[in-house]
């Protein structure tokens, strides 16, 4: 290579803008390491990869600090080659697993961080590392299912904010000059630490506020919904029902009550035994991401025998696909109308029976299997649902509140006959059914009346005596027990509906669960196991109803359900804080938070309502929002263009005085100071002395403090008097000049 080329390359690679700030490098290193560590708990990368990456990043950061003034050509060449290799590997992985490129992307970014850490001479390189760490953190966040990810975010923020501060400090320092002398105090490390902590608290709190009010838009997926990102496809081996909590479950209800396992729900099986007594423990079962809250149906039951619900013994239909998703079909004689689409993704956290949970009515299923099963009770999986299983469902439904109560079409029996059949009920049950339903009311109205009756007249309780032998569960509940839990209410409701010719079935599954505003997931636990009813409304289809008191159907409230989460956020905060507080304070706080959330919700609802009633209001608002910044910018521009207006009284007075003198022919030269000019004027006007006024003016103009009011007044008066004298003199001169003119030209 010629000398010139070598010299050119040397200048090209010459170290420039080298960053010498150690605190900055440490802060960036911390942010990068935290972001890499964040991948491990989410199952995105293996622990070995994470640990080795952290070690390499640390080594690289140290080496790039030590060698920051070297050109490091060899390092750069090796980094370039390895980066290309990482990119090729990423593209290969994406082509093999196209449905979710996040894991290959996360690995690529980890490699980028590792390689980049070996060559970080400049502030810009460190900033790039910081941005990459944010991307890694976001990737980890997209996988995270728990609120504990918030701690990682806070830790990252604790590293990122100091990094930004030091980058800023370094950058401004490089763009500024060193003054000859400066009396500005040096900033101590303690002061910087306190300032950064305050800043972090501000950003965190503001972030919570902004995040709480940010709308969660529920548009969806690019290509497909997620389903078990880490599980290989299982080939199906036929269907065999299995409930891990009840491994020896018979296919028909036993003679005596089933013994309850508090760690598993007895409602997932071939029968629902209404004689079971006991409570379940609060164990996490699954997390659900859903565009709308709903009940997560498991199984529906058809036949009531007086003490249990059973399903007919039928061979379920096998649904096979070679390419996901599964399209779920239904009996065409039972049409279904829907206005709402609910997209759900389920993340299992505990082993569950081989029942595919979904909001009613599932129509599209993404499931890590080549086959699923379907029968009259619901969708079934070829294998039990393990911890870590992920699948997605798209359901379409009617919002119950949108169904008019006046729907009057009576059901044509046909395929719905099984949902109208009952064993012989007691007379009092029959009479009760007639009593509580208004005569002449349509089927839906009748069902609503029954629901209202049960909610008002009966009490929800887990403390329920055992069902006497031979007694009918519904009769005993309605007339003896008068309290019970969801299975009892659901059973009573379904039976009463059938008695008034409304097809009904009991459904078991899980209630919505607790919404976590941070993860955006509904956290479902074992004590959310629930039973409810679906009734058939002609022309609409199966509709979910909730007869159990203190439970309500999870519907989006006033049309702003999943979009705005601030109500859920406040509820979550209240719920978690209240666990730390004594009972009385807890109640007060609960009331307070509920009130605030309701007020905010009402405010937004009212605003949206008024927008819907007066669409022009939206236009006006948008116009105002657009015009305000324009007006502000115009005002700024006007101020910038306008000469600086002095509000200084003495300066204004002197300015006016000079202007008056100018009109009398006493023009100040540009190079003349005020003193020189006024001295000249005093020389021409006999008896005029402006030394005092001049002194006051100079104090006002060049002094550090404003003049006292008395002095300002004295200056003004002095100038006014002087102006009178000058005017007299000018008049006198003019008169003499005229007389001279007359003398020479008579």
């Amino acid at each position: 290579m010629s000398g010139k080329t070598l010299d050119y390359l040397r200048r090209l690679n010459a170290p420039r803008e080298i960053e010498d700030s150690r605190p900055l490098r440490i802060a960036v290193w911390a942010a990068v390491v935290i972001s890499v560590f964040s991948l491990a708990p989410q199952g995105v990368s293996s622990q070995a990869l994470v640990l080795s990456s952290v070690v390499l990043i640390s080594l690289g950061s140290y080496l790039s600090w030590r060698r920051r003034y070297h050109s490091n050509l060899v390092f750069k060449a090796v980094i370039m080659l390895l980066t290309v290799a990482a990119l090729v590997s990423f593209l290969r992985q994406v082509s093999m697993q196209p449905y979710d490129p996040r894991i290959p992307l996360a690995e690529l970014f980890v490699w980028v961080q590792v390689l980049h850490s070996f060559d970080l001479p400049r502030g810009k390189d460190l900033l790039l590392s910081l941005v990459s760490s944010l991307i890694l953190l976001a990737l980890a966040g997209s996988f995270s299912l728990s609120a504990s990810f918030g701690l990682i975010v806070l830790l990252w923020l604790a590293a990122a904010i100091p990094a930004l501060y030091f980058i800023q400090q370094s950058r401004l320092r490089s763009l500024s000059r060193e003054p000859e002398r400066s009396s500005a105090p040096r900033t101590s490390a303690r002061y910087i630490a306190v300032m950064l902590v305050v800043l972090m608290v501000l950003v965190s709190l503001s972030g919570l506020a902004v995040g709480a009010f940010m709308p969660r838009i529920s548009t969806n997926y690019l290509r497909s919904l997620p389903y078990s990102i880490r599980r290989a496809f299982f080939s199906s081996g036929g269907y065999d029902f299995s409930n891990p909590g009840y491994p020896n479950l018979p296919s028909r209800p036993p003679d005596s009550a089933l013994e309850m396992n508090p760690e598993a729900y007895f409602g997932f099986g071939t029968f629902l035994d209404l004689r079971v007594r006991g409570t379940m423990v609060d164990l996490p079962v699954m997390k659900v991401r859903s565009t709308d809250p709903a009940y997560w149906s498991g199984l529906s039951f058809q036949e009531y025998n007086g003490y249990a619900w059973v399903n007919p013994e039928e061979e379920p239909d096998e649904l096979k696909v070679s390419v996901q998703p599964f399209a779920i079909g239904y009996d065409a004689s039972q049409p279904h109308s829907s206005k709402r689409t609910i997209v759900q993704t389920y993340y299992l956290q505990a082993e569950q029976p081989n029942v595919i949970f979904a909001a009613w009515r599932p129509e599209v299923l993404y499931y890590p299997s080549d086959a699923v099963y379907q029968d009259s009770s619901g969708l079934k999986s070829p294998f039990t649902l393990d911890d870590g299983l992920v699948y997605s469902v798209i359901s379409r439904d009617m919002v119950s509140s949108e169904i008019p109560a006046s729907v009057s079409l009576e059901v044509k029996e046909g395929t719905l006959l099984p949902y109208l059949e009952l064993p012989q009920m007691t007379d009092r049950v029959l009479e009760l059914a007639d009593e509580i339903t208004p005569s002449g009311a349509g089927p839906y109205a009748r069902a609503l009346a029954i629901e209202e009756f049960l909610e008002n007249e009966y009490e929800y309780s887990l403390d329920v005596p055992p069902l006497p032998a031979g007694a009918d569960a519904v009769d005993y509940f309605l007339f003896e027990q008068r309290r019970g839990y969801c299975e009892h209410f659901a059973t009573a409701y379904a039976v009463l509906c059938r008695l008034v010719s409304v097809p009904a079935r009991v459904v078991t599954g899980y209630a919505t669960g607790d919404y976590n505003p941070f993860t955006g997931l509904y956290e479902v636990s074992l004590d959310d196991a629930h039973a409810w009813v679906e009734i058939y409304v002609e022309g609409i289809g199966w509709v979910t109803r909730e007869p159990t008191p203190s439970f309500s159907l999870p519907e989006a409230s006033q049309g702003i359900g999943a979009l705005w989460i601030f109500r859920d956020f406040f509820s979550w905060v209240g719920r978690n804080l209240s666990a730390l507080l004594p009972g009385s304070l807890r109640s007060a706080l609960k009331a307070g938070f509920t009130a605030v959330a309701s007020a905010a919700s009402a405010l937004v609802s009212g605003f949206l309502y008024s927008l819907s009633e007066a669409p022009w209001l939206l236009f006006v608002l948008v116009l105002v929002i657009l015009l305000l910044p324009l007006a502000w910018a115009a005002r700024k521009l006007r101020r910038a263009k306008a000469p600086p207006q002095t509000q200084n009284g003495p300066l204004l007075a002197m300015r006016d005085f000079l202007a008056a003198l100018s009109s009398l022919g006493f023009e100040r030269g540009r190079s003349q100071t005020a003193g020189e000019f006024l001295g000249g004027v005093c020389a021409v006007v006999p008896g005029l002395n402006l030394s005092g006024e001049l002194l006051l003016f100079e104090r006002a103009r060049y002094g550090r403090r404003p003049l006292p009011e008395d002095d300002v007044r004295r200056l003004r008066q002095g100038l006014a008097v002087a102006l009178v004298q000058v005017r007299l003199r000018a008049k006198d001169r003019s008169a003499r000049h005229d007389r001279k003119g007359e003398e020479t030209n008579p």
Binding site: R11, L172, P179, Y191, G207, V210, S218, N220, G520, S671
Partner: protein, 437 residues
């Protein structure tokens, strides 16, 4: 991040996006607050010479209840002529072509040598406290500068937003034109040593340098005029009083009329004329001669009887370009002010001259020295655009004294030595033989 969050329906991405948005908002608020309640006083000498660096002291006071952090104080260039928008601190970047030609990093300029904006970083100003910065600024051109702005600039500590506040601290700076202390100026010397000048050009008043009395010393009197014997006798400084002191003044016309070409180029030309004028005035004034400076504001002549050399410098510092026409018209405009036999020094850009008209405008027996300034060498891009002639052509056109009364012709180019140019004119007329350099 919001888009990915929407797509992946991941709750945490919305929170991360919210956190970023909050960081920007917090940075914006902090930057807005950081530049408020700050005041600044600028202190410096009221007058400096053109080539002298100016030491500026900026006293900053924080009247707020909280400390201010990472504030950049940007003192604007007093001579900046472009509209003063709020500044942004950005690194100087080379264009791609420049970078390919020379990949070395761009050099930082210091306000000491090159002028321009001066930015200083103050890490912290305590609440109700202050800081003082001192720096030097150079590269100031002749002129009067008042109340140029100063800015406080903040990027919100973490650099995600920025705000600037503008101050107009009261300042008045007069940059006086540079001048050379001449050892001689032939036109003025012909006052003192008429025997050295051609007889027909010497002044009629007095044949020599005999004085007719002594007077007390006045500030500005040259020491060579001190009458030491009388001083020793009286015990106070006395100087010779020459007949000529109350005689014919020297009128120095500075041609400040812009005639074609960019105004910026003419300003450079006018600076050179001011320096030449200052040098001539310095010599004549301290030789004891009354001097009158003349220029034009529009069509109106502006005359200034120089009371002292410093005042003359200030007058020259304030001199601005004016629109107008040729030297001939200026001479015609000055005619009422010039008395017969006066001494007239005309400093003008080297352009073609209508000698007849010019001479007709001058009074009888007026001794004129022409100091020509080469506009080409003062042209920013060195082009001869708008010139249509070269200075050499102009000088050679004056080789034969085109009119009676023309005493000497000098030519000044950018970079020439002022002293040499004025002490040794290109042509001195006399004995009908011009003497060239």
């Amino acid at each position: 991040m919001v888009l990915i969050g929407v797509n992946a329906q991941s709750g945490w991405l919305f929170w991360l996006a919210g956190m970023l948005l909050a960081a920007v908002l917090v940075s914006w608020f902090i930057s807005l607050l950081e530049v408020r309640r700050l005041s600044l006083i600028r202190r410096h000498r009221p007058e400096i010479d053109e080539e002298e660096p100016l030491r500026v002291v900026l006293d900053i006071h924080n009247g707020g209840r909280f400390s201010r952090n990472l504030i950049a104080v940007i003192d604007e260039d007093p001579a900046a002529t472009e509209p003063r928008r709020r500044p942004r601190l950005k690194a100087k970047r080379k264009s791609l072509r420049e970078h390919l030609q020379d990949p070395s990093p761009p050099e930082k300029e210091s306000p000491v040598s090159s002028g321009g904006r001066a930015a200083f970083l103050v890490s912290r100003i305590a609440a109700e406290g202050g800081a003082s910065l001192t720096y030097q600024r150079g590269g100031l051109r002749r002129g009067i500068y008042e109340d140029w702005p100063c800015f406080f600039y903040s990027e919100g500590i973490i650099g995600l937003a920025r705000h600037t506040s503008r101050m107009h601290p009261a300042s008045r700076l007069v940059v006086l034109p540079h001048y050379a202390e001449l050892g001689s100026f032939p036109l003025v010397d012909s006052f003192l040593h008429p025997h050295k000048t051609p007889r027909e050009y010497s002044s009629k008043k007095g044949a020599g340098i005999d004085y007719y009395g002594v007077r007390e010393f006045r500030s500005g009197d040259p020491l060579r005029h001190v009458h030491w014997k009388t001083t020793a006798r009286r015990g106070e400084l006395v100087v010779r009083e020459f007949e000529r002191e109350t005689g014919t003044p020297l009128v120095v016309l500075v041609d400040n009329r812009v005639r074609g070409g960019p105004r910026a180029d003419f300003s450079t030309l006018l600076d050179a004329e001011a320096r030449l004028a200052a040098s001539v005035v310095h010599y004549a004034h301290y030789a004891g001669h009354p001097v009158t400076l003349a220029a034009f504001r529009g069509e109106v002549p502006e005359l200034y009887d120089v009371p002292g050399f410093r005042a003359a410098l200030r007058w020259l510092a304030a001199l601005q370009p004016s629109s107008g026409s040729g030297l001939e018209e200026q001479a015609e405009g000055l005619w009422p002010e010039l008395s017969p036999g006066c001494f007239f020094c005309c400093i003008t850009p080297a352009r073609s001259l209508d000698s007849g008209r010019f001479a007709a405008a001058l009074p009888h027996m007026c001794h004129t020295a022409l100091v020509l300034v080469d506009p080409l060498s003062h042209n920013g891009n060195g082009s001869s655009r708008g010139a249509g002639f070269s200075p050499e052509q102009v000088v050679s056109g004056l080789a034969e004294a085109p009119f009676a009364g023309l005493f000497s012709v000098s030519l000044y180019r950018k970079g020439d030595d002022l002293r040499k140019c004025l002490e040794k004119p290109l042509i001195i007329y006399g004995d009908s033989t011009p003497r060239g350099r």
